[in-house]
Assembly symmetry: C2
Homo-oligomer: 199 residues x 2
DNA sequence: ACCTGAACACCGTTCAAGT
DNA sequence: ACCTGAACACCGTTCAAGT
């Protein structure tokens, strides 16, 4: 369908790009959620999937989620929508399929794998939405600076623990924190038993 | 300031509620992000904090994040905004402080604690935004049903792993999955070493 | 039958004008 | 100085009317 309309994907923007009124889009799509769902699935078509049986399955999972996040990164408004969706397109299902395969290869019990994939994708999407928007909404002088300042100011006697870890809150590159976050989550998913009896 | 305006908190809604024009709000607040930040902090003022030295620190963390999520749950549009923010109000900092204290009590290394708290709050906020919106956008017949149908249909030969875990994807109550998710993440944060040299 | 112009009901933000 | 009416530049969605 398309590949150029960056940044904020709205009904009206898309309509004018197609030289028509916004009403015309409703012939092909029922609402904006569906539009964003379709757009997401088209983007995921070109997501590079790992070769089967390649190397460390944990690294594969983190790498794949990194690629997913990177893909969404260019479309912040789309990422924000996807957060509120349960995507159901074929390429999204294929992504779930591949992730499930990797978790199975790692010997993760089925319930943990099923719940875990959901969790991993939720965090990946949230990360894309957050980062994309932050970049969009201006230079470095955004909320970040504001929070940094507030933390430095508050981290006196009232907030001893905050004072202790103060600087660690802001260390690491985005990439380092991303890799650590998903490694940690993956570890937890692997080792934390899901409830067996579910009353 | 206020406590009644539920659901979608917009500048204009708030303005009419205060019997004035939308422009007047800009005397007290620079933009909507700041407004939502202030609103969040006011909500967090009544967040029940755990008594110091009470029981299992892991359970305390999960419980506290549950209360946080529950608080945001009633204000979906606020939750969605907070996702794109770096909140810096005193009550949010206090929440970070308490979480850091619990992680320290659990012997979590500082960098992991600092990065971990960020991660826990990100996931909690995302969860609130997602759930709140889903409830808001109609009955059960939303994306959920659509995805469920798509999964059942697709889980044939093309998607073997999906077929294998099919039903597990939709098991568990929201509460059960919430508790498992945060327990798993907390386990990962506790046991996964953060990078030491950060070049 | 298929498409769409124009309207409806909203948004956040700005700024000139009023007190 | 402090506030705000009215305007600007957008939104998603609907529906009567046109081809």
């Amino acid at each position: 369908m398309r590949a150029e309309g960056l940044e904020r994907v709205t009904m009206r923007r898309l309509a004018t790009e197609l030289d028509t009124g916004p009403a015309s889009l409703y012939v092909y799509v029922e609402n904006m959620a569906e539009l964003h769902g379709a757009l997401l699935d088209e983007l995921l078509a070109s997501l590079p999937l790992p070769a089967p049986d390649a190397g460390d399955w944990r690294a594969e999972v983190v790498g794949l989620l990194g690629a997913y996040t990177e893909t969404l990164h260019a479309y912040p408004s789309l990422a924000r929508s996807v957060m509120l969706l349960r995507p159901a397109g074929p390429h999204y299902l294929r992504l779930i399929e591949v992730l499930l395969g990797l978790l199975e290869a790692g010997g993760v019990p089925v319930r943990q794998a099923a719940w875990g994939v959901d969790l991993l994708l939720q965090l990946a999407t949230a990360t894309a939405a957050e980062h994309g928007t932050r970049k969009e909404s201006g230079d470095d002088t955004g909320h970040d600076r504001h929070q940094t300042a507030a933390v430095h100011e508050a981290a006196g006697e009232q907030y001893p623990h905050l004072a202790r870890v103060r600087d660690e809150l802001f260390t690491g590159t985005g990439r380092q924190r991303f890799r650590w976050a998903f490694t940690a989550l993956l570890d937890g998913i692997t080792t934390t038993p899901a409830p067996i009896d579910m009353d």
